[in-house]
Subunit: 576 residues, 2 copies
Amino acid sequence: MLENITSAQLKRMTLKELLALCEEAREVITSTVLKNGGHLSSNLGTVELSVALNYVFDFPKDKLIFDVGHQCYTYKLLTGRYKDFDAIRQKGGISGFPKREESEFDFYNVGHAGTSVSAALGIAKARDIKGENYNVIALIGDGSFNNGLIYEAFNSLRLLNTNVLLILNDNGMSIAPTVGSMHEYLELLSESDERKEKNEKHAKIFERFGFAYDGVYDGNDLEKMIGKLSEVKERLKKESVILHVVTKKGKGYAFCEENPEGTHGISCGGVVETEYSNVLGETLTEIAAHDERVVAVTAAMTSSLGLAHFFKKYPSRSIDVGICEEHATILCASMAAAGLKPYYAVYSTFLQRSFDEIIIDICSQNLPVTLCIDRAGISGADGETHQGVFDLSFLNMIPNLTIAVPKDVEEFAAMLKFSAEFDKPLAIRYPRSGNRLFGIASKLVYGTWEKLICGDGKYAVIACGERALNIAYSAAEELEQIGIKVSVINARFVKPLDYKMLDGLNEKYILTIEDNVLIGGLGALINGYYSDKDKYIKNFAYGDKFIPQGGVAELMEDCGVSVRAVTEYVKQNENR
Amino acid sequence: MLENITSAQLKRMTLKELLALCEEAREVITSTVLKNGGHLSSNLGTVELSVALNYVFDFPKDKLIFDVGHQCYTYKLLTGRYKDFDAIRQKGGISGFPKREESEFDFYNVGHAGTSVSAALGIAKARDIKGENYNVIALIGDGSFNNGLIYEAFNSLRLLNTNVLLILNDNGMSIAPTVGSMHEYLELLSESDERKEKNEKHAKIFERFGFAYDGVYDGNDLEKMIGKLSEVKERLKKESVILHVVTKKGKGYAFCEENPEGTHGISCGGVVETEYSNVLGETLTEIAAHDERVVAVTAAMTSSLGLAHFFKKYPSRSIDVGICEEHATILCASMAAAGLKPYYAVYSTFLQRSFDEIIIDICSQNLPVTLCIDRAGISGADGETHQGVFDLSFLNMIPNLTIAVPKDVEEFAAMLKFSAEFDKPLAIRYPRSGNRLFGIASKLVYGTWEKLICGDGKYAVIACGERALNIAYSAAEELEQIGIKVSVINARFVKPLDYKMLDGLNEKYILTIEDNVLIGGLGALINGYYSDKDKYIKNFAYGDKFIPQGGVAELMEDCGVSVRAVTEYVKQNENR
């Protein structure tokens, strides 16, 4: 039924047909995600909700704004993307997130937590100003609901004086189980059979901010969902409503229901590589055994950052604050001010939320916080909103911050051990995984680089991180075959640069390679250092555009950060 | 009494003596601020609270964490800084904000809103982990209380399982009157005489998050404050408390009480210059008259951004969301997605909070939001946490964003008119004020620069913004007197660079000047553009350290961005 379904057809279906549609969506999602990778359990939990929304509301006239957006698969299947669903998250295929460029049914792009309520309010306000008439719905999970943006949006609902529907999809999970007092409150609202009374007594928080509260505590019951949404649609004409919907993450697939955290995101096959996160977990656990000041902080993704064992072994020194990246950063700074040694582990893309706190709280106070920045560089299939390609740039500009980039997992462990003795702000950025070991050319000393290959004095390649050094090595091997021996340097500290080594380089041609945007990154620092010197510098880094979804290797190639790009540059330069 | 007061003396004083101490503090603050500039009305309102805190608690053993921090003057006077108070906010003097480097009584540096509760929690948690014993107090105003960080901190109070005292200083004002539902709620809590009953009924929100609630609704009554703080100090042994204190902003100085917004911050004298904010207000009001899509958004500082008149004239297209920079940014992006033309006016330093939302919400969707970035560059007396010196760098790296920097107020007006027709993300950054008009050498066209002075072909100075161009002009004049005629170019668009002009420059020596840090700024972009060309480039921009308080001109000189630095470089180069 899904194949050519239209909105009009769906609205004419019987309940039985709609239920069959749900099952079909579940099957398509499960088989596709197991093949392509992607978000599984969250999408299985919201099938009925998505069908009900499409039954009751009129998209694309009405606007549905997702939060984070990885729960949009059923919605995509119902809004004209069944045929493209097979290539979801693949290069050139449809996105695993809402995307304006893809369909008029996707009105607002998302990727990071907590933005949906603000966006819904902005859209509703614009609708009112323009005198238009449609419904605006934000669909947010209880994990995102911990983010401070929610409070900012709630606080301005009355002053914006507009009506929106906020659907709170409560499955008790972020990626990890949701933590915090707001979630305890949500449990209180949904736990009892005498709901009516309880809600009237307890739902005051939402009412205080101007939302009427209602709930569907079995959000996988399609009939109930349709009934309640129809009711709420009427109320929207005169007020804003928060509809609390309790769903089962992984619903309908026993393995997912039992392992909602493990099946939140599914990776599709590929070469087995060593995860940097495992090295973080092992090494930090070891450091913490000898240093009681060590604390670990995460924002709702402890396991995927490799810290599950650390959290189990040192519960009193482990803090997961939920999806609150700014708060997590200040906690680290303040604990450091009070004499502890905090490690904040986070994905590169989400660290963007902490930019101001890294400047003010950590670095202007010069406090010994270590940022462990995972998924740095191109992250792949999640696309534009999840690439970790800006961190070198937004960190480079911050005074007092040291930035280290390991060439492989062994050097990562060495950097973590270095961090234990280092008493200033430190950032270590690394990709999800790798499989190469480069060996040790020189001991890890603050602010020093190491020369991994000595060339014949014309070309020096300066690269940081495993992916960039992989390219440098392969290019060096290829060029050696045609008689050009280039130097390869591991810029393991991006900040400070190794000025002594830079001053000592005799090579006239300097090539830089990094898994980061060009503007503000490693190459830019080197351009600056040599700006009044007789050097010719060529940077291999990502250009000034957003990087779409795809495989890491194919995207790097597309962006001109590749063995081919490097060798061609040298060959062309030789032929000039 | 204030001159040599110690904590021990203060604790032995009678109420009468303490009241006299309050009056003395008020006098010192008023006379000093009227001379040096600084924050006046907020400090006058918290005199009694500060005296009571020092009477009841034991600083520096106990820790007091301010929020934003401009209400710390009385605390500074009471903790050993009376003698230095005369030079507050001046170069080399004590800071107008809490500063660890200045005194052991200042435990945590602040400057941006909403961080105090997170910081207090982190410090208290560290205290517990280390088995120490002291009290941790966050002092936050009702304006900051609108920021999303508060919710993130509240939400994690129970899971952190530690006790703090949160004092909410409610004077009904941010800089502008506080807005939003939380503030309405606070009013409800404090408005009635039958407080006990009301509170028991209404204070559920705070209790829900694990705080016991209590209030002093005349926080300028010293005796009441001391009594309540003594009570609360006991309760802190077993629970976290939020103490709601209502104070009068500007208390004790009739002019301030009547003009709390106008006397929030006092500027000390100096040359009268044209405020860029006035030009924003006038020009945007004019644009809005012809374009119904134009909306203006601010985060709690409408007047100082020049938009008071706009807000009055177009109330339905004016939104002040309170101190919620992230939410404001998403509102703009989403209103743009829904067909409006939003302008978000904000100080450079506070825009740092919106970094992630500028990337994801505005730029990855390529939406026509205009960022009007005031107080860009060195802002002066507020010091490290308020300098607007990072914006070119953190904006430069973001794809799809155009960045314009006016050379004077006339060009600023032209850029705003340009923005009205521009349908993509745009940032315009400008200092608070200026007093020079450079005239128009070439019409403002997207992505083009203008050559203001044609040199003799050896040196070209590329500069952006009034302050940098002022330096370029004065240097050019000085150098001309010794026979060197340098070109001066107005890089009015930092992004994109004017590649055509760059390609056409015959000068071998390129000088860049900007009111921004070197890393990632205009100069860095030019270094990158010429990295493989035969140019010698010298950048004049701020080095890699935090810039303390002081006058704008003296700080620029100290940072090597000055006429002298530029002319000396050229002279030395000539003599080489």
